[in-house]
């Protein structure tokens, strides 16, 4: 027997279907966009992971407060601890892509971990955004299409900047290199050697150390005997501190210029009274006059994190600043792409025209030929004063 609708039912039913459809769309619109982070959240570089988390969180809070992305979808940060271990990092990246369905992966301080994730991200066609690890071949990896982007320093450029600083600030003529014995150290050995050649100076030597080495005085003595007049250091906080303690033990008062890995952990505590002698690179300092974004981010950080009372408490500033700008650029890329689908999001990054960020005013930050948004003009030299990181003055 055919079903007969009353007049009321005939009116209510389409209205119900329409309402149900709207509710469904609202539910879809409310589905969050997951942002993955694989970084060192524990271990010797735990502070780097905390800094990156804070930068991302401040940006995400800001974006969500303005209504989210893609017509009202909120951003949600999903973090995994790589423990500075490439295998763990790669596993975490796969899990975030396959299980959590993240739209993009952010990386941490360790270049070996990022280098392990690069092929995974490219194969899955999910963008990977580096916000700290600086190995040159993270972005310049030969993949086509390349899904790897970075808002951070690039070793080859940092190396030029470090060499320039050593020669101009300390009058270095024969700098010696102290490099961590891993892929990041190798990347910088190539970069610093090229930078020395370009500057027309000769290196006194290049020495390597392992993360767990208890005494680096033999390596330093080799550099000293070879006539090193400056030491350029590439390593993370704990082994970097061992280099400084070994320098102190040797009573060798040589100028020390460092890559930024030392700012990712408890360097001032571990290095002791000589920590302030090290001049190192950052992409941003919260000290001094700030642009509007800087003022706003610092205020937001102080409001959200009670331990931040002023610019000196934003440690490490590089992690916070790079992550903040990278997240804002990601939101712009999503808007350009109109989607969170990997291939479209990649195109979205390449389509960004300009963005007034924390670190600088970005103009065409990413192109087919260049996936690095920062360059040597964006670096500042800093040093520790107690636990705080301050720009080098004078």
């Amino acid at each position: 027997m055919p079903t007969k609708f009353t007049r009321r039912q005939a009116l209510v039913l389409p209205a119900g279907i329409a309402l149900g459809s709207l509710a469904g769309r609202a539910a879809m619109a409310a589905e969050p966009v997951k942002i993955g982070l694989v970084a060192a959240l524990s271990g010797a570089s735990a502070k780097s992971g905390e800094g990156i988390t804070r930068g991302l969180t401040i940006a995400i809070d800001e974006i969500n407060a303005k209504g989210g992305v893609l017509g009202g979808r909120m951003l949600e940060l999903v973090r995994r601890d790589d423990e500075s271990n490439p295998v763990k990092g790669q596993t975490a990246a796969r899990e975030l892509i396959d299980k959590e369905g993240v739209a993009i992966l952010f990386g941490g301080i360790d270049s070996p971990v990022s280098l392990a994730i690069v092929p995974v991200a490219n194969a899955a066609q999910v963008p990977f955004m580096g916000v700290w690890a600086a190995a040159t071949n993270i972005t310049r990896n030969g993949a086509n299409p390349n899904f790897i982007f970075r808002v951070s320093a690039v070793d080859v450029l940092v190396d030029r900047a470090l060499m320039k600083y050593a020669t101009t600030k300390f009058g270095a003529k024969t700098p010696g290199l102290m490099l961590v014995n891993n892929g990041w150290g190798e990347s910088n050995l190539a970069g610093l050697t090229a930078a020395a050649e370009a500057a027309g100076i000769k290196l006194a030597g290049a020495e390597k150390f392992d993360d767990k080495d208890a005494d680096m005085t033999p390596q330093l003595q080799r550099l000293r005997d070879a006539g090193a007049d400056t030491v350029i250091l590439v390593g993370n906080a704990a082994p970097g501190a061992q280099v400084i303690k070994s320098l102190q033990r040797s009573a060798w008062t040589v100028p020390i210029v460092s890559h930024w890995g030392i700012s990712g952990g408890r360097f001032p505590e571990l290095a002791g009274s000589w920590a302030g002698k090290v001049h190192f690179i950052q992409t941003y300092s919260f000290f001094g006059p700030q642009n509007d974004v800087g003022k706003q981010v610092l205020a937001a950080l102080m409001k959200k994190y009670p331990d931040i009372k002023g610019p000196g408490d934003v440690t490490p500033p590089v992690g916070v600043a790079n992550a903040y700008d990278a997240m804002q650029l990601t939101a712009l890329a999503m808007a350009k792409a109109g989607s969170t689908e990997g291939a479209k999001l990649r195109e979205g990054f390449l389509a960004i025209e300009s963005y007034q960020g924390l670190i600088k005013n970005y103009t065409k930050p990413f192109t087919d030929a260049n996936h690095d948004a920062l360059n040597e003009n964006d670096y500042v030299m800093v040093r520790y004063n107690g636990d705080q990181i301050e720009p080098v003055t004078g």
């Binding site: 524990s42 271990g43 150390f209 102190q248 040797s250 952990g265 571990l270």
Partner: protein, 289 residues
């Protein structure tokens, strides 16, 4: 360069020797060793840090308590990971001590955290400078403590009643039992002493290195190599082997570069063992049939 290599080598080498002495003690008395010896190094340093830095105890109070913790840990290892397996006549204590060490490392990781911490010491802040060679006072203290403890172990074994009992237990455990010597207790005490020696090593190295839940792993491995090299049963041999190991390590880095350190050092260990299978100072065991 030679002076730097000597200072660095002797300082680290005496730490290796100190830790390796623990292997010697337990092996001599029971024929077993504590493969969690590296964890004892870490435990000494971590407990000392927790008390001295965390709770602001003076060092004179923090150090004895940290060493007591190590001794108790040694007793636990012997009771849980060695005695039951030896009683059943299996060699599973090998794996059991490794497992217990990993367990302790991970418990400390949860309680202490994964971040390395500093243990400041006035003996490792202001170096003495002679020419262009610098040396922390602690680096002089470390070899002295190492040699002093080796002497103490030697005297203890040869000049005390306890030492006499220990040597009796080593020579013939069954006969020692018949003479009312509590061999089980003696073995437990050597495990406590071995962990205590490792704890001293951990506390001594902490100010020039740092304190971390995984700091003992590498020291434990190197100390075992030193113990084998020294001949396992000979305390003086082990201490000399420790100093030798440290010197080879430092000299390899100084003259051949850091890339060669492990290659040269472990090649030297293998070569030495090929030439002297019982260790450089060990006694060849004769089996009578």
């Amino acid at each position: 360069m030679l002076a730097t290599a000597l200072v660095s080598g002797l300082s680290l080498g005496s730490i290796y020797g100190l830790i390796a002495l623990g292997f010697t003690l337990t092996f001599a008395v029971s024929g077993t060793v504590n493969f969690a010896q590296g964890s004892s190094v870490m435990l000494g340093a971590v407990v000392c840090h927790a008390l001295a830095v965390g709770l602001h105890w003076p060092m004179v109070a923090a150090v004895p308590v940290a060493l007591l913790a190590c001794a108790v840990w040694g007793l636990v290892v012997e009771r849980i990971a060695v005695r039951p397996f030896v009683a059943r006549g299996t060699n599973s204590w090998l794996m059991a001590t490794v497992a217990l060490g990993i367990l302790l490392d991970n418990v400390v990781m949860v309680l202490f955290g994964k971040e390395p911490r500093a243990l400041p010491s006035s003996l490792a802040d202001d170096p003495w400078v002679i020419g262009n060679i610098g040396i922390f006072p602690l680096q002089v203290v470390v070899p002295l403590v190492g040699l002093g403890l080796a002497l103490l172990v030697h005297l203890g074994m040869h000049r005390t009643e306890l030492g006499l009992k220990l040597r009796a237990a080593v020579e013939n455990p069954d006969a020692a039992r018949l003479m009312s010597i509590d061999v089980t207790l003696l073995i437990a005490l050597t495990y406590a002493a071995a962990a205590l020696l490792a704890g001293i090593g951990g506390i001594l190295i902490a100010p020039v290195y740092n304190v971390a839940y995984d700091m003992g792993t590498l020291f434990g491995i190197k100390a075992f190599a030193v113990a084998i090299l020294g001949g396992l049963t000979n305390p003086w041999g082990v201490v000399i082997a420790g100093l030798g190991y440290g010197l080879v390590e430092a000299c390899a880095t100084t003259w051949l570069g850091s890339g060669s350190t492990q290659i040269v050092t472990f090649s030297a260990v293998i070569a030495a063992l090929v030439l002297a299978p019982s260790g450089l100072f060990g006694r060849r065991t004769r089996v009578r049939v």
